[in-house]
């Protein structure tokens, strides 16, 4: 007979220890608290009186962790305005995290804020890992000085590095530098989809981190379902095998009402 688990997971109330402005629209909130964690996992962040949303852990130390937020809507704007001493509720960490392969020949591909879940992964990977990072513009390149390893950069406006898409750089890397054993990617879903397609073409396994509207964070409410997968629990990181079967990948998502819509509609809804 199994015994019933007891995991009281009411929000753990923590005070912001530091708010570090990373870029005009990006800030990292730090909390002095130790959290068991794997790169790619996320926490639910509650701002009392407002809402609760999922954020990846972008910084992790023995007694401290941080989340990096891009100001987009009501919640994230409020979040990046929090200051030292403000109370926030944390539930988690949730999700599976990346399945880390300590291969010499892997690549990490980040699009914009997609760098957040990848950052702690990059810190664990060998020094010769390829790191490709794309953003709108120079301003939006997260953590410019954080990593030991070199970073290939591209921007939409050409203000830094290659003018164009991360997939251009990834394709070049594969063609010129020889095949890869693993590609980790996070960014807009269309970008991850293209990375996945490129990897499929070249027979390279990849892992991407998906994003859906979430409520419970632990696989019960169904808000985040994507095909046969429960993003908050089975993901948010999915490997090539799951992606091949996931017919909603880059196609459909559920709105807050549970209505299934095209991904574009989902993103414009999230715009309100």
């Amino acid at each position: 007979m199994m015994t019933k688990p007891v995991m009281d997971q009411k929000p753990l109330m923590l005070r912001v220890t530091e708010n570090k402005r990373e870029a005009p629209d990006y800030a990292t909130l730090f909390f002095d608290h130790s959290l068991a964690f794997r790169p790619g996992q996320f926490v639910m962040v509650w701002i009392p009186g407002l809402d609760e949303k999922p954020y990846t852990i972008s910084h992790h130390g023995p007694h401290r962790f941080g989340i990096t937020i891009e100001a987009k809507g009501v919640f994230s704007r409020k979040a990046i305005a929090l200051t030292k001493g403000d109370l926030v509720g944390i539930r988690g960490p949730f999700g599976n995290g990346f399945d880390i392969q300590f291969s010499q020949r892997s690549a990490v591909v980040a699009g914009g804020c997609g760098m957040a879940p990848l950052a702690t992964l990059v810190e664990q990977l060998p020094g010769d890992t390829t790191l490709i990072h794309g953003a709108r513009s120079k301003d939006a390149i997260l953590f410019p000085d954080r990593f030991a390893l070199a970073r290939e950069i591209c921007t939409d406006d050409g203000s830094l590095g290659h003018k164009g898409l991360v997939t251009d750089l990834l394709e070049r890397r594969i063609t010129d530098g020889g095949s890869l054993d693993m590609v980790y990617a996070c960014g807009p879903e269309i970008m991850m989809y293209k990375v996945f397609q490129l990897c499929e073409t070249h027979g390279i396994p990849c892992q991407v981190s998906l994003e859906r509207y979430m409520r419970c964070g632990f696989g019960v409410c169904g808000a985040c379902v994507c095909g046969k997968q429960v993003v908050c629990k089975d993901g948010p990181v999915f490997g090539s095998e799951a992606l091949r079967e996931m017919k909603d990948f880059n196609k459909k998502a559920l709105l807050k009402s549970g209505r299934e819509v095209d991904l574009s509609l989902y993103f414009s809804w999230r715009c309100r």
Binding site: M2, F218, G219, C221, S257, R259
Partner: protein
Amino acid sequence: MGIRFLHRTLKNPTVLASGILGNSKDILERVHEAGCGLVTLKSIGPEPRDGHNNPTVIDLGCGLINAVGLPSPGYLNMENEWAELEHRDFPIIASIYGGSVDEYRRVAEYVSSKKPDFIEINISCPNSEQHGMIFGINRDSSRAVVSAVKKAISVPLIVKLTPQAPDIADIARTCEDAGADAICAINTVGPGMVIDIESKRPVLAFKKGGLSGPMIKPIAVRCVFDIYKAVSIPVIGLGGITTGEDAIEMVMAGAELVGIGTAVRYRGIEVFQKIADEMEAWLSQRNLTLADIKGAAHKEGE
């Protein structure tokens, strides 16, 4: 452990509770493949409805508190889902709710045309100000909803009840008289409230929420026990079932099938096969069948 339930044969007595994992075919199919005998869709309402802001679902350790707030695409906005579900090879219960007798009837009629195996009416949800529970605590309103829906549909009707009814057995009897083909009990308990003392605020955005999981099992067992005595239609017993032994207990109280919701949190989607296997093992070790133990707790002095 194949089991007959109304007009259908199910592979085992486990049922996915409504509101767990939503209503898309892919995920429901996965639940079925993971061992579930009968899956229930998330309750479908008359209008598109976002439900409440987060936090909506919190784990309290001995169960959950939730105020999801009956989010629904609205019954007219689910053509994709219905189209996909048409080609299913597993049985489903479509759960519905409304804000008036007429809304219940309208939603039920439409949903019935989509040929789910069963329709369940949720007259018991505590998480919305306008919908649901009000009907299930009162005999007259329960009767009105059940008879209106019964006339409008062509599949068997299950009525899902709330433990907040002052006399749940009486409501069950009323529903049976009004045409219900089965009873499902129970919906969440309470409502309850959890206050975060640091921010001095209720944790749920809706403030109050329904309790589910292990902590409500004794209440669910008592309700099923009372209902079983009062009606002759079958009962789907749910509330806190997490193990095969919990399921056996519910069957002894009088349940025909056992619903599982919150346990998905604690044991994953595989919980259905696990519970079915645990039930089977328990029974076969004792040379018993499900039929032998159904309602066994009602027998005195043996």
